[in-house]
Symmetry: C2
Subunit: 411 residues, 2 copies
């Protein structure tokens, strides 16, 4: 039996994701597809444009059988920890194959890069330190150090965001001595960071979000790039809540938080290092908008993504001690099921005995602090919508979404 594992954010689910999903199934002849998906806050340190339930429904309609939430504490991390959290979940669910999208498109260079890394870690780290001292960002230091030291035939371009993630997926799978087969598919259509919509039917999620968040445009303008069920989901979400989510809406809360917290307390927040607490407190009172704020903070050393992740930790009040304690467990403390098809449900019960991480259907089934953080993350993600009593309590009571894939209806 072939079990395909995907690591996704689906923010929102678009034609590019669907293409990747279908190609991955074809390539691996998968019998069941599991997606580990970020919850309300994402790897690049951003609020998801719609909540995780809406994105779960898109995934199920797109053909995923089982959607598992990547705990917030892993979802909002640099590539290495994000990848390791996701791969360890997939491993625990006994997937046979993982297939990721990359700029490169060939799996060999990833494996070679990881092999090379395993034999040259000390040398590489020395060179990375050198680059960091020159004020470069970590991803850039990493990519340049690798490029200058490695002598493999098929050099992997680690300045590309999906190649970096892929490198860490492969590294994590190999490190865990797992027997998972890793595959990669070239990302088609627009690049990851593309800001504008293209002429093809595939656009980057960044471009799609940019258009959706533009008040003069909206969902109609992106409908060529998303499946009809995504369009329906987005339309329902917007009509129920009144807006999509972007950092800009959270800016008043960030202002409040950063102005009311002392520098000493701020320094206890995860990823708040090297005096960043003073920069944050100085610039927040000088900024009108989130964009202005992040522009003032950005340096060669601190990329937008790095800073957005920090601001996510600030917003969610994730302390260094809490995050480090949870990460020290080396794998996510639970598997929370967000949604499943009939096929997914059958698979899940078939592997009941093989799992080492407990499976959770409701938040209330775990009393791990990381689960408390997941609940708070969902509540604080929804805070911009003047939430009602039920919105907050829902997160405790919510059960996995059930999808009948034959009839294409939710149950």
């Amino acid at each position: 039996m072939k079990v395909l594992g995907l690591i996704v954010e689906y923010n929102p689910f678009h034609h590019g994701h669907l293409y990747h999903l279908q190609q991955s199934i074809k390539k691996t002849r998968a019998d069941v597809v599991i997606a580990v998906m970020s919850g309300p806050f994402l790897q690049r340190g951003e609020p998801a444009i719609v909540d995780k339930w809406s994105r779960t429904r898109m995934a199920l309609q797109g053909g995923v059988d089982l959607v598992i939430e990547l705990p917030t504490i892993y979802a909002t991390q640099k590539a290495e920890l994000f990848a390791d959290g996701a791969v360890s979940i997939l491993q625990d669910l006994s997937v046979t194959d993982i297939c990721f999208g990359s700029e490169n498109g060939e799996i060999e260079p990833f494996k070679q890069a990881v092999e090379w890394f395993n034999h040259n870690e000390g040398k590489l780290n020395d060179r990375i330190q050198l680059h960091l001292k020159q004020g470069k960002s970590y991803p850039r230091a990493f990519s340049e150090a690798y490029q200058s030291l490695s002598a493999t035939d098929q050099l992997l371009d680690l300045s590309q965001p999906n190649n970096i993630l892929g490198f860490h997926y492969v590294q994590s799978a190999m490190k865990r001595g797992s027997i998972i087969n890793v595959h990669t598919i070239t990302r088609t259509g627009s690049g990851y960071h593309d800001q504008t919509l293209s002429d093809t039917s595939i656009a980057s999620a960044t471009a799609i979000r940019g258009t959706m968040l533009n008040e003069d445009k909206g969902i109609e303008d992106v409908s060529a790039y998303i499946p009809s069920y995504t369009k329906d989901e987005l339309a329902n979400y917007y009509s129920a809540k009144g807006s999509f989510h972007s950092w800009e809406s959270y800016f008043p809360f960030l202002q409040y938080k950063l102005m009311s917290i002392s520098s000493e307390e701020l320094n206890k927040i995860y990823e708040c290092e090297e005096g960043l607490e003073h920069r944050l407190k100085r610039e927040i009172v000088q900024s009108h908008t989130f964009e202005e704020f992040i522009d003032k903070l950005k340096t060669k050393r601190y990329t937008r993504t790095r800073l957005q992740r920090l601001l996510t930790h600030v917003y969610l009040q994730s302390s260094k001690s809490f995050v480090r304690q949870t990460l020290a467990e080396k794998k996510p403390p639970y598997l929370r099921v967000l949604g499943m098809s009939n096929n997914g449900r059958k698979y899940l019960s078939s592997i009941k005995k093989d799992r080492t991480i407990p499976v959770i259907s409701r938040a209330s089934e775990s009393n791990h602090p990381a689960m408390e953080k997941d609940v708070i993350a969902s509540q604080l993600h929804g805070l911009i919508h003047h939430p009602t009593k039920s919105t907050f309590m829902d997160e405790y009571k919510a059960i996995p979404i059930q999808f009948d894939e034959e009839k294409q209806v939710f149950r």
Copy 2:
């Protein structure tokens, strides 16, 4: 030379305040009038309806010569500490007379009550404890204990809010061995807590605010109860900022704060006692509005005022250790001048040598943590208005408002 001291909030300045001011001057034949005024947050644990600068301008136009800010840490306290902070400022400014408004209207009962209290503190406190154990609020326990134990001829009704404050003014003045003459004037017109406007030209500030905050009504509906300069101030404020301040506007920030903070951290907030942290965290996710929230929290033991003060400390992130450390100094650490008339300025320079508390014209002149809290309180008070860069920085740079009382113009 007669120097009159008043303790005020002017939220906003209305005919009742003007009457009190004029009667007090008449009664004491004052040559100069000093008002100690709460800043952005008030004794009953509420945001002031307009900022302190606007209320300072009202006070100067009403006839006050010198407006001093009561530091936030004293302004948001129970009657005893509020009164003591204000009286110690007035004492340091060498006032000869203090005149407060009260339900009682005669000064003797206040003096007798304080004398009685000084001789019976132990007995009174025992009785108060008894009442508290029955679940009564502190003010009620205090008033009932006094009523049942005291045998003076002219019993002071300590269930009346302005009598309580007056009692503490007199107590503080006597305790400090000051030679200040204390006077009281009967409050006319509506009662302190009256919710609706009355037929006379004097209404309670509560009723005036209630009408102003009602979107269907507004400033026009209260114009019979306020001087024309108050009306102008309010109209200017509203047109510049778009709204007045009430707890309701801060509710999203309270939701954010109470949901993101842990119970352990919440317990470190001043006045968060007896497990209140759990009640706050439980009820915040069950409430749509501030009113609903406070209604759920209210008990016989915890009055609305007591809870609002707690929520002010929560909003301003005032910890037990910070507040207690500052209060241990026994008097405010600085006198911040908010505004003065020519007369006030002359008086201030005439007493330069007699003062023990430093006078401050700009926030940046003090590095006391209480001043940092005052600045933050002003910034967080303004947060509901999508403040601009200048709004935040203004608070550091602001200098006292100068009023030419002869020409009736600001300079």
